[in-house]
């Protein structure tokens, strides 16, 4: 199967600190892929490079065959990113936010899909509410909706369930699983390892900008018979 995301020897330095040190990995289309690692491992930097928010010092990243630097406009159309930070534009309602985000991607009449996303993320009754008036969990749902509004084949979720309640997590994962079942490639970073274990078919473990492990989840667990992913994670990170 061809690659949804192909990352080749990507390096990024910040003032002498190696945030990414020659990372290479390939994520096939339709995969539910987990990117794990302790804080400062380079997960968000790697995602930022993938999304074009950060320019790598070396290496190449392709999304569905499109180079994120050379062919950045097409690569961005193929990618939906849920940022880690809880960011929003305080001037607009939820529906305005999603319409604007649709327009950014060239979609003028997208209300049917917007309504479907709102319903799936349990946001329908908040559609006309200003973003400032939403709780943290609700804002997180809008971030997810914004990433999905242009139906990207590759969806990146950077700690999407940080600080949100169980109900949202369940609803969110149900929706994301459905999208994955429909062929969307999902890339997830999370500190909730039980989520990664349950959802991701393959995992990469990053530490200090390098890949420590890149395995199918089942294989990784089998190699450490009887351990939970949390125990495996701790063992690999502490090596």
């Amino acid at each position: 199967m061809s690659s949804a995301v192909a990352i080749s020897a990507v390096a990024k330095h910040y003032a002498g600190l190696k945030a990414l040190d020659g990372v290479s990995l390939d994520i096939p289309q339709g995969e539910f892929f987990g990117l794990l690692g302790p804080n400062g491992a380079g997960k968000t930097t790697l995602i930022s490079c993938l999304a074009g928010l950060v320019r790598p010092d070396a290496g190449q990243i392709r999304v569905m065959g499109r180079d994120v630097q050379q062919d950045y406009r097409e690569a961005r159309r193929l990618l939906g990113v849920v940022p880690q930070e809880l960011v929003f534009d305080p001037f607009f309602t939820v529906r305005e936010t999603l319409r604007i985000q649709s327009g950014y991607f060239g979609l003028r009449r997208n209300d049917d899909w917007i309504d479907e996303i709102l319903a799936n993320l349990d946001l329908s009754n908040k559609a006309e509410t200003n973003m400032r008036r939403l709780s943290g969990g609700m804002k997180r749902r809008v971030l997810v909706a914004q990433a999905l509004v242009h139906r990207p084949p590759v969806i990146v979720l950077d700690e999407p369930t940080a600080g949100v309640d169980v109900e949202l997590r369940q609803g969110l994962w149900q929706f994301i699983r459905r999208l994955n079942g429909e062929g969307h490639t999902i890339i997830l970073t999370t500190h909730y390892l039980e989520e990664a274990e349950a959802l991701c078919s393959r995992l990469a473990l990053l530490k200090q900008g390098r890949i420590l492990a890149l395995e199918r989840t089942a294989d990784l667990m089998a190699q450490h018979d009887g351990d939970t992913l949390e125990q495996v994670f701790l063992r690999l990170v502490q090596q």
Partner: protein, 250 residues
């Protein structure tokens, strides 16, 4: 095209939703300037044969066009950078030219809306002539776009609100206030008169006023040339900054 239109519309909506602050407030400020200065000077001063209030009104109009064009693009960018919502623009498939056009055009529209408001409110107090509507519109458009592009540069450069405030207070305000809004530069001592000719904003004020009265301190064609060159310069710089990703993309 939809992407450009949406970003442009979003920028318009952003200032229109807080129009009391972004439109009404600068109109009131201009009105206060007019009431104070015209009360003190109207009976004593004529400039280019025009009563002082009539001389002042076009200056106040174009000053607010320029300041508000700058304020729109710069405040939009710095706010988006500080809150992090700039990420939604950066993740989108905009070309650098599209971003430039949307921000600068929206900034110009705000400047023109405020300028029209100032003209409507202050125009009651003066007998205004109109020498050339085309000249008035061209200078207002080019001047607004120039300051809109400069606002884009300032918004990209600034990391914090106080840096932007410094840019506004120590560069934009002196350049606009000392550009002949309230006086003809011929009333200045020779040194300051000469110095005013190095201020591009002077040509925007002077050129705009020419559109009303048909007289000006500098040649109107020189004013147009300086404004066009300034617009080209700041546009080129802002496009280069957007392309480089400086302070926007890590």
């Amino acid at each position: 095209m939809t992407g450009f239109y949406t970003l442009f519309y979003k920028e318009l909506l952003r200032f229109w939703k807080v129009a009391f602050q972004t439109v009404a407030a600068p109109v009131l400020t201009a009105l206060l300037y007019l009431l104070i200065f015209s009360h003190v000077l109207d009976e004593h001063v004529q400039v280019h044969g025009v009563p002082y209030t009539g001389f002042l009104v076009p200056g106040l109009v174009i000053m607010q066009v320029l300041q508000n064009s700058f304020a729109n693009s710069s405040s939009s960018l710095i706010q988006a950078k500080v809150t992090g919502s700039i990420v939604f623009v950066l993740l989108s498939p905009f070309s650098h030219g599209t971003m430039y056009l949307a921000y600068v055009l929206a900034a110009t529209v705000r400047g023109l809306v405020v300028g029209l408001g100032v003209l409507l409110v202050t125009g009651w107090f003066a007998d205004l002539a109109l020498h050339s509507l085309a000249w008035v519109l061209v200078i207002a458009l080019l001047g607004g776009a120039t300051l809109g592009a400069l606002g884009l540069i300032a918004g990209i450069w600034a990391d914090k609100f106080d840096q932007l405030a410094a840019f506004q207070n120590f560069l934009i305000m002196p350049l606009t206030m000392l550009s002949g809004v309230f006086y003809s530069i011929h009333s200045l001592p020779p040194f300051w008169q000469q110095l005013s000719h190095y201020n591009p904003v002077f040509y925007m004020i002077d050129g705009f006023r020419y559109g009303f009265f048909g007289v000006s301190d500098a040649s109107p064609w020189l004013s147009l040339a300086v404004i066009a060159a300034s617009f080209a310069g700041v546009s080129l710089l802002s496009l280069l900054l957007l392309r480089s990703g400086w302070k926007l993309r890590g």
